[in-house]
């Protein structure tokens, strides 16, 4: 794609996003769009680790919930939105640093297991420490903030606020990916030993990446409590971590737009499925299995590959061997 086409596509995309409440109209669909954007921020944050650092976290819902619960409890205690939100982000950053310090004792599968266990601790605290978190009944958030005097109580205004945060998030990701730091992070993913030999502090690079990811995870957690005006232990459950991981891998990891597409796919599917049957977990599991078994590179690139393959077969001369251009490994 040439640069001109690329900018035109970005401009059209921005225009569509900015005018969405006008052409969608119905507030139910505007709310779904807000959900997609807030989960896109979450998925982008996780993609920093899964895609660019090669570290798969199954405890990110824990960080998400830590920010959400901190914000909700501080608001309930009577603090202003500004104080509560800043403190919540601060707590999320500290939590991310603690997660990082522990989980980076190991990489690969060990990292995954430790983050899973840490996520379960957060769930355990949210669920069992009832005197702090109100247990299974959750915490209500009575008001949404009104930045610069603009109320966010109706669907379109909240959508625009979420859109602005989303654009900031994706812009920061774009800068991050192109920065020397982003390059060194990818270096630690692909060739950790060589990076080490070249004098890079692999541990520190990974640590900072986790804290960066924790920041946007915290922001999305705050968006979540303002959107739902409620938070319960379910948010920190393993299912939630799996859902956001599914967003990242279904859209295609280590791309800017993959997690956004994945968030849209998962949120829309969840809303559609839940409208007809109460079997979201089953559907979630089946999608996981199908994607991993048949489209390991993600739904979007996977579908493109399948279409190309079919197209190639149609165009190929009869009798000519059709090859499958896939990432299938040669033993």
């Amino acid at each position: 794609m040439s640069a001109g086409l690329r900018y035109a596509a970005i401009a059209i995309g921005l225009a569509l996003l900015a005018t969405l409440p006008m052409w969608v109209g119905n507030s139910y669909y505007i709310n779904i769009a807000s959900q997609i954007l807030l989960f896109a921020v979450f998925a982008l944050a996780l993609n920093v680790l899964v895609g660019y650092a090669g570290l798969v976290s199954l405890g990110h819902a824990g960080l998400f919930a830590i920010a959400g619960y901190s914000g909700a409890l501080l608001l309930q205690a009577g603090y202003s939105h500004l104080v509560a939100d800043s403190a919540a982000i601060g707590i999320a950053l500290v939590a991310a640093a603690v997660f990082a310090a522990l989980a980076l004792r190991s990489t690969g599968i060990g990292f995954l297991m430790i983050t899973l266990a840490l996520g379960q601790i957060v769930w355990g605290v949210a669920y069992r420490w009832a005197s702090l978190t109100n247990g299974d009944n959750g915490v209500n958030v009575s008001t949404r903030p009104a930045p610069f005097g603009l109320s966010l109580s109706n669907a379109p205004s909240f959508y625009f606020a979420t859109l602005i945060v989303f654009l900031l998030a994706i812009a920061s990701m774009a800068v991050f990916v192109r920065s020397p730091f982003g390059a060194s992070l990818r270096g630690t993913r692909d060739q950790a030993r060589r990076m080490n030999a070249l004098g890079y502090n692999v541990w520190l690079i990974r640590f900072l990446a986790i804290v960066f990811s924790g920041f946007w995870t915290g922001v999305s957690g705050l968006l979540f409590i303002y959107y739902n005006q409620f938070i319960s232990p379910q948010v920190s459950a393993l299912t939630s971590s799996a859902e956001v991981l599914l967003m990242v891998i279904s859209g295609g990891t280590a791309t800017l737009l993959g997690p956004v597409a994945g968030a849209a796919i998962v949120v829309i599917m969840k809303n559609v499925v839940s409208a007809y049957i109460e079997r979201w977990n089953l559907v979630l599991g089946v999608i996981f299995v199908v994607i991993i078994s048949f489209m390991p590179e993600g739904l979007v690139p996977g579908s493109v590959r399948l279409v190309r393959w079919v197209w190639g077969k149609l165009q190929a001369k009869p009798g000519a061997p059709a090859t499958l251009p896939s990432e299938e490994r040669v033993p």
Binding site: A117, N281, L282, S293
Partner: protein, 292 residues
């Protein structure tokens, strides 16, 4: 926040801890062997436990003998595990992350199917008739069935230990745990071992589910409560080490019961503290070796 306990309560808690430790050993030994050999944490291990328990509930409902139900349920879940390993995990050999995510996907599928079949109500089958009641020792009463669970776990632990340390099969498993490529070179069919160990682990988990059901009862969410416990046990004990699994299981059994009684709110956090300590001080686990 802190609730003091007296010595009578402590004795009962100790009996419960031993029973839970035994169950955790049955659950985690399979998890640990699978992890040691195949290098993947099997995230459906808790689901095997829960599915086994539910199958046991149904078998008992049809009037099957308790121990027969536990064995049959173990065999059924072993078959399910074997099919998943042969047909799907096998396709992804060498790709660790997709394998793990595949087991996670199946964990969700199994959880939802169980919810569909056995509904959301908890089930608590009765313990076998000959093991109901209590035994008196040191002037206190202990529920007999809890001690029976411990006994069964000890018998299986000894059997596993003999198998791993003293048989040809065990030697092959140890070779596979230490160095799969070299094990292959000397003619060990490592991929067959994978299936065997996967089935064995699934069977042990399901068996534990059935014999644990009269004590823990069976309910939706049991799978994801047991899975982290198995994870902690293996992180504590070190993967592929039976002794480590044994020590880790009983440590967690005691922490869980005493933590619940003494620090209700923070019981879950206390459970994870030793894991965090081990991670910081000895990342390979208490009895783990540094395998590359």
């Amino acid at each position: 926040m802190f609730t003091p306990i007296n010595s009578a309560q402590a004795a009962i808690l100790a009996a419960n801890s031993l029973a839970l430790g035994g169950l955790l050993f049955l659950l985690s030994s399979g998890f640990s062997l699978i992890f040691g050999l195949m290098r993947i944490p099997n995230l459906m291990h808790g689901s095997f436990f829960m599915l086994g328990a539910y199958l046991g509930v149904s078998l008992l409902g049809w009037g099957t003998n308790f121990w027969l139900a536990a064995v049959l349920s173990g065999l059924a879940v072993a078959a399910i595990g074997g099919v998943i390993e042969r047909l799907l995990l096998r396709r992804l050999e060498g790709q660790v992350l997709p394998q793990v995510l595949l087991t996670l996907g199946f964990a969700f599928i199994i959880a939802d199917i169980c919810l569909m079949v056995w509904t959301g109500d908890p089930w608590q089958p009765a313990a076998p008739a000959e093991l109901r009641g209590a035994v008196q020792a040191f002037g206190m009463f202990f529920p007999l069935y809890r001690l029976a669970i411990l006994g069964v776990a000890v018998v299986i632990a000894i059997a596993l230990w003999i198998m791993v340390d003293w048989t040809r099969l065990g030697a092959m498993i140890r070779a596979g745990v230490d160095d799969p490529p070299i094990a292959r070179v000397v003619g060990i069919k490592v991929s067959q071992l994978f299936t065997l160990i996967f089935c064995l682990g699934a069977a042990l988990a399901a068996f534990a589910g059935v014999i644990g059901a009269p004590y823990l009862s069976v309910y939706p969410g049991l799978d994801f409560e047991m899975l982290p416990l198995a994870l902690i046990v293996v992180i504590l004990g070190g993967s592929g080490s039976l002794l480590g699994t044994l020590v880790g299981s009983f440590l967690i059994g005691f922490l869980y019961n005493f933590g619940q009684a003494m620090f209700r709110d923070l019981a879950y956090v206390i459970l994870f503290l030793p894991m965090l300590l081990v991670l910081v001080l000895r990342p390979q686990g208490l009895f783990g070796r540094n395998v590359a």
